[in-house]
Symmetry: C2
Subunit: 341 residues, 2 copies
DNA sequence: ATTAGCACTCATTGGTGTTGAGTGCTAACG
DNA sequence: CGTTAGCACTCAACACCAATGAGTGCTAAT
């Protein structure tokens, strides 16, 4: 229902504002080489676009800036899917292929690169407990009274914990415990582990080891840790270079959010697959009302391996970011699918 | 060589400035209940202290603030070792005792608490490669072509990596590789592992496995990772609440430093044991010329288990911070020594 | 339907005077 | 002689004001 010219004007305003961070006036648009209308004409359309809620005016005698709704229209209908730069592609690909054997290394390194390429903050979430199951369990004696419990997930992720043993647990006991756990728990998704532990495992365990409640609670602890997805952050301070965040108080809320893993996880929940863009208040989180979050998921063999997100100001280079994430998530998905087959 | 009164005045200025973040004038000191001199007298001493380089004046008509040298004198000679609050002690102790079986959990959690109690940033460094040796090595098959390599250090720290295997490596081969590595590498400090790997291990390995260069380089990679100490951060944004860091540009450098693990490690190098205080430029790092760093080391059984640091403005509550770190490092040291014996 | 012209708005900038906290110096005091 | 009252001086911070100019909305002409 927008005229061709209105769409063009909206697009121009968003592009200009993304570049300059300053309200865009009718004159500056009229001067663009691909525009052949006078400032007055443009002003009329701008007034219409404002009435439709796509633009806003900081004050009467300033230019226009896009509203949340304006960005949304831009992302949904106007965006030019800017191709990713050749050199960036090469850098990302070689990196990812290089570190394939170390999921966390690959992913955290990729996050670093992406945040450098975009100058925004990148956030990566590891696999969650609904899609991860236990692959192997092991107890390794460390000293006379301590041992390391090691848990391997089907994603190749490993979690460990040093536990101090109660008196009178022999090497043999440990081997038996580990054997029992492997029997009962292999293939069990992590979110079910706790219940299985206390029903099927508990009974058998009591029959040949003393102090088994203590051991059970230690095991539960160790396994619980694994169930929580890991979060990697990179470029958290990039937000400080954005002119609209010159004010320390605005930035504080954002950086605090980034420090709080649980809040971040909540933010990433309810994401469907593919590339998602959430603009400003669409995030539903007070602290980042002035930020946009673009996310992509990585799946292999039906498992959700992780989620990559990029957080920047609403005035974000959507085309570039979406292009990059699209490429990166595709690349990772391809590589890991090949690995798992 | 400072008179009693001068010491008292210096102490009062530092205390006041730490509380208020504003230059301290002669009048406000004179009004303190424990002071019975006129502003004029105090001004004379202040001029002397400035000549000695212990105080500075932001501009002619402002009060005085402590110089680096002034803080140094304060920390070395004037500080009242403020006892740690009862409730803080209890909180820290229960936490540490609770999480003992998980070094990283305990330490990162302790860092969080300390940063909350002090409102500064806490930085924790894990054990370094000079004091850590290999305890156990294991290869765990994951799929047909992948396996998880697990490295356990004598500190109980575990590192892992998913590796993709070359064609034609059987389960049996893997068991033999793991056995060989355990034979040759157990007890070897990490900084020596690489050389042992290429001298003693390489020869034997070639005799019964093909493609061994590939496997060797994967192993080296995995072991290298373990050799690098882990860094935990908490409360990085606390610096933003300090009035002297209202300016985004000043803060950027500091937060960037905190994002760079290698730089942080460098900062922590050349620390002797016990509690150390480094004030402003004493750190020798441009970005934190306006910050102070208080550090404490944790050793168990001769090994350096880790270092805890607190980073705040030079205008830091030295008494409180030193007290807390003293208590915490002592507590951790005691607990882990008991664990290792 | 488009555009030129014009009056109007208002954030930003720079200059100016005032205020007040704090100093250094001198002279008086016990 | 150490201490203190008194006083002139300095200078950041603040408020006030006028000038500037980018940008608008509206109207009338094209």
């Amino acid at each position: 229902m927008l005229s061709e010219r209105q769409r063009m004007i909206l697009s121009a305003i968003v592009d200009d504002y993304i570049r300059s961070a300053e309200p865009v006036g009718s004159r500056s648009i009229s001067k663009r080489s691909d525009v052949s209308f006078s400032p007055a004409t443009i002003r009329n359309d701008m007034a219409d676009l404002e009435e439709l809620g796509l633009l806003e005016q900081p004050h009467t005698s300033a230019g226009r800036i896009p509203s949340i709704k304006g960005y949304r229209y831009y992302v949904d209908h106007l965006i030019r899917h800017g191709g990713v730069k050749e050199q960036d592609v090469r850098r990302l690909h070689s990196l990812v292929a290089d570190k394939m054997n170390h999921w966390e290394g690959a992913v955290s390194h990729a996050a670093t690169i992406v945040s450098q390429l975009t100058n925004y903050t990148s956030i990566v979430l590891g696999p969650d407990s609904f899609h991860t199951s236990l692959k192997h369990f092991q107890l390794l004696p460390l000293t006379d009274t301590t041992a390391v419990a090691i848990v391997v997930a089907n994603t190749g992720h490993v979690e460990h914990r040093t536990i101090s043993l109660p008196e009178g647990v022999s090497m043999d006991d440990m081997r038996r415990i580990a054997g029992l756990l492997n029997d009962k728990l292999t293939g069990v998704p992590f979110y079910k582990v706790k219940s299985v532990l206390y029903t099927e495992v508990a009974n058998e365990l009591t029959s040949y080891v003393d102090h088994c409640e203590h051991i059970l609670s230690l095991l539960e602890d160790t396994l619980k840790e694994e169930a929580e997805p890991k979060v990697f952050l990179s470029g958290a301070t990039n937000i400080l270079t954005q002119p609209e965040f010159k004010d320390v108080d605005k930035v504080k809320g954002i950086l605090d959010l980034l420090d709080e893993t649980p809040l971040l996880m909540q933010l990433f929940q309810s994401l469907s697959g593919g590339i998602q863009v959430r603009i400003g208040t669409e995030n539903g989180v007070e602290a980042i009302n002035q930020c946009s979050l673009v996310t992509a998921t990585i799946t292999a063999d039906g498992h959700l391996l992780g989620t990559i997100g990029i957080l920047g100001p609403t005035r974000m280079e959507y085309g570039k970011v979406i292009g990059l994430l699209d490429y990166l998530s595709g690349d990772l998905t391809r590589l890991y699918n090949r690995l798992y087959k």
